[in-house]
Each structure stands twice: as structure tokens, then as C-alpha cells.
Symmetry: C2
């Protein structure tokens, strides 16, 4: 890769125009920063063009353009498509810095290594989303106040990292650096396991007709993300299988222990007291880590 | 019990001024219906009096007044206090119709039978709440559009049932009738199990410092009710232990099966597809059951 001028804001080339990629295009426009994009399906491209976005469904052409102006390439395709996209970048855009917004970081870094683009790749993950997907679900404000994880694995290119951090900042997000595997272990706990628990709860509620009619606040909260497109949930959970198994085993152990106590002495005390204390500690970590004025806008997306 | 004139709206005597009892007092005022209340702790009584509510901390005096004007008594104390309150009602207010708003129905009906008030008792459960508790958390609009379950067990007093249904209606709720045990099995699925899953998720997120910092939408939704006062969660879960064990066993089985599949073939497909389908069916049940949707048959977007 050619040296990158980190004082510059190169154009941003967004590959994949789903919820995250589409929100990124809008956030760039809001910020007045140059961006253009690619999407495989012509439908999203057509919708985006109607709204005045500079997008195309010809990947080779978009990558050639990125190479010509040394754009920062953002890989925003689902995990199963990541490695093919890296291969195309390696062929057509050999001088561009690269990042991604995929929800796992270890497998993406592995794919980058296999395709020979590691020296100009720094992974990223904006912690924002809704239960909706696709270009139409995009929102210029999606990243406001959100955490944007930027990988700081040993040997990572510091110039590319600076570009990625500036991109996150331009989108209104707060950068948190973390190792790829450390990230994956954490998101298994706070993103992938919550999806599996929501699916589980939805199935159990659906088994009883009266239950489905009575479902109120706690059930609706607990199952909201079960409305996410299954392909997206599977893509992120399956890509993070090793870390997810660890979190799932912890859930099984806690619930089994609670079940034993409930049968033996009719009490949920241990689980409930520990859960309440944990909830309070997390709220303290969050309020300590996020200035109130940045934290507030993100509530509208959650 | 003396015959009840079901065309009348007798005064409502609310015993217990926490979130539900306190919201009931406010909803009655909003409706212009006479109500007065009792609470054991003087603090809530003082707060309520400052807001002009007719409340007292002397249970014998409040029950004597209820007896004098044949009030509809609403038992709104936590489950562990229910039986003592029934005993006091049996002594001091032997002619009043009685209902309750406790989150389990079988154990409350059993306590009513043991205290000899079954013939004038019909259980109820408004499916509404927040993560907050106490008088100050009360809200006149809490029951608007909520489901209010009214027990229709064999042998139940139809006059009392009519009074309870009118009360629910006055509070803006929609009545759904169900047997007490049928209710308890359903709420184990859609209220008590969600609480245990939320506690579990909070504990697992709290075990990893980075996870707590990254926690976003799906985690916050999935753990919201872990912020509920532990005593309230334990009171409702423990009182419904037999039904909750059934729901908990279903959760353990679904999650174990998912864990096995994830290890064996790296896929969460079965759980995710089933959860998404269940979520969609429940949404359909709910929208079919909502009165406002029935009132708009011309909307044909479905």
C-alpha cells in the first residue's frame, strides 16, 4: 500500500448497502464527506440512486474507482461474502486501506490474512442496529453516540487505524479499541447470546395460545430481536461459534442452577439478586464511559 | 355476601399502594370513580396524601369503611402478604366483593379458599408494569390498552366477575378471561421466564469488562427487566414455581439443542428460524386481538 495521509479524509467506498452500509452512506452525506458504494442486488442500488446516492452494482468498476483515488474501502457485506470481497479487493484495488463493519472480528481478520490484505486492513464494528435490515432501513443518525470498536491487534497498520477512527468519529460514534478475539468474546455475551435467548423466548411464548395473547412488556422486550431477519442472525452467530458456545454454556449453567434451586426450595433468590446487581454494575460502567450528551441520541434506535 | 348491584360502580378499596395499586388509584381518579386505599408503610401514604389521595395506614379502619359502603376490595399487596390480608378482610369486611391484581392466580385463589372468602372473590391480573416500583412509579395511564385477565374458574361468583370486568374497563384495559391455572402457565412463559433470562443475560454481560462497555440495543432490551426490584421478581417467580419450572425446562432444552448443533455443524439455523417464525405468529395473534385493528377493517395492508 502507498503511504496514507492520515490528515486527509479520503473518499469512502462502501461495499454492501444493507442497514449498516446504507446508514454509513447517509452518515457520510450528513457529514459532507465523499462516499460511493456498491451493492450486489440491483434493487438496493436503484433505491439508493433515486435518493441521489452515488452507487453501482458493478464491483470491478467501483473497486477500480476506489483504487484510482485511494479511497478507504469499508466492507459491509454479511460474513459469508466477506472473503470473496477481499479477494476482489486484492485483485482490483491493491493500494486502498480497508476496514469492515462486520459483527465478528477474528474471522474477518483471518479472511483478510488468507487473501493477503492484512497489512492494509484494520477491522471495525459499530455497535448499532435495529431489528430491520436493508437499504431502506438505513439512518444517517444510526451511529450517533454508539460505540465503534476498532481492532488494535499487534502488527495492525497504525495509519489505517487512524483513518478508521476518523471515519467512526465523522459518523458521530465513540471509538473503543480492542483485540479481535477480545471483541468476539464480548459480543458473544452482549449481542449473539441475546439473540439466541430472544429466539428461545419467542418459541416458548408461541407454544401457548393464551401466553401469546397476554404477552406484555417483559416478553416484548425480551423477544424484540427475534424479529431480525434469520439470515442476518445466523450469519453473525455462526461466524462467532466458538465464543458463542462459551456464553451459551454459561447461560445453561446459570439456568440449570436456578432450576435446581427453584425445585429444591421454591426460590429464585440467588439468580435474581445476582442479576439485579450485575444490571446495576453495567449501568454504572455505561454511565461512566459515555458522556450523557452522546449517550442520549442513541436511545432512539434502541 | 349481600347481593351486589352490578349496574353500580361501588367505591374501590385498594389494599397496597405500590406500582399497580398506586396506578389503580390514579386511574380511578382519572375516571372520576370513588376510590380509597391502604398501605402498610407510612411513607407511601404520606406521598399519596400530599397528592390528594384518600389513603390510610390503618388497615382495620380502611376495611371497616369498605364494609360500610360495600366497596369492591382490590388486593394489591405482594404475594407473600396476600393471605394475611384475606384473613383481615374475612374478619372486618365480611360483605365486600374482592378481587386482586397479583401476578399469579392459582396461589391467590388457594389463599382465598383457606380464608373462607372464595364465594365473593374473583381473581384478576392487569398485564402491565414497568421496571420501577412503589407509589411514585404509579401512572394513571398504565392500564390503557393493556390486557386485564379476569379469572373464570368454575363456581366463580358472576356478580363479582361483572364488577371486576367493569373496573378493568374503567381503567382502560381489555378483559381476557382465563382459568387461574391456565393463566399461571401462560405468565410463566411470557413474564416470569423473561425475568429469569434477563437476570441470566445481565450476569453474563457483567462478567466481561469490554462486554459491559459495548452493550447496545439487543443487550439493553434483553436485560431491561433485570432492573426490577429483586423482591418483586422473587415474589412473582417463586409463587409460580411449578409453572415456571415447566417453562424453564423448555428453555434449557431449546438452548441445549442449539448448543449441540452449533458445536456439531457450526449452525444456529434451527433455533433462529423457529424463533423468527414464532415471533411473527405472536405478532399476528396480537394484532388480531387488538380492538383498534378490528375497528379498522378497511386497512388491508396485511
Amino acid at each position: 500500500m502507498s503511504p496514507v495521509d492520515t490528515e486527509q479524509r479520503p473518499p469512502v467506498c462502501v461495499l454492501g448497502l444493507g442497514l449498516i452500509g446504507g446508514s454509513l452512506m447517509r452518515a457520510l452525506r450528513r457529514q459532507g464527506r465523499a462516499g460511493y458504494g456498491w451493492n450486489r442486488s440491483a434493487g438496493a442500488v436503484e433505491q439508493a440512486r433515486e435518493q441521489g446516492y452515488d452507487v453501482d452494482s458493478d464491483l470491478a468498476a467501483v473497486l477500480a474507482r476506489a483504487q484510482a483515488d485511494r479511497a478507504l474501502i469499508v466492507v459491509a457485506v454479511p460474513m459469508p461474502a466477506v472473503e470473496d470481497v477481499f479477494a476482489r479487493i486484492a485483485d482490483v484495488a491493491p493500494s486502498c486501506p480497508i476496514t469492515d463493519v462486520v459483527s465478528v472480528k477474528g474471522p474477518v481478520a483471518d479472511a483478510a490474512a488468507r487473501q493477503g490484505v492484512s497489512e492494509r486492513f484494520v477491522g471495525g464494528h459499530p455497535m448499532a442496529g435495529t431489528a430491520h435490515s436493508g437499504w431502506q432501513a438505513g439512518d444517517a443518525d444510526l451511529f450517533d453516540g454508539a460505540v465503534w470498536v476498532v481492532a488494535d491487534d499487534p502488527g495492525g497498520n497504525p495509519q489505517v487505524r487512524a483513518l478508521v477512527e476518523r471515519l467512526a468519529d465523522d459518523c458521530g460514534a465513540t471509538v473503543v479499541t480492542a483485540g479481535s478475539l477480545e471483541h468476539d468474546a464480548a459480543v458473544a455475551r452482549i449481542s449473539h447470546l441475546p439473540h439466541l435467548l430472544a429466539e428461545t423466548l419467542a418459541i416458548i411464548g408461541d407454544r401457548d395460545d393464551l401466553a401469546a395473547r397476554l404477552a406484555a412488556g417483559s416478553f416484548r422486550d425480551g423477544t424484540r430481536v427475534a424479529g431480525t431477519a434469520p439470515a442476518l442472525v445466523r450469519a453473525m452467530c455462526d461466524a462467532n461459534a466458538p465464543a458463542l458456545v462459551v456464553a451459551l454454556d454459561e447461560a445453561l449453567e446459570l439456568l440449570s442452577t436456578a432450576r435446581t434451586a427453584l425445585v429444591a426450595n421454591g426460590s429464585t433468590e440467588a439468580l435474581v439478586e445476582a442479576g439485579f446487581a450485575a444490571h446495576r454494575r453495567i449501568a454504572e460502567v455505561r454511565s461512566a464511559g459515555q458522556p450523557e450528551d452522546r449517550a442520549r441520541p442513541s436511545l432512539t434506535h434502541e
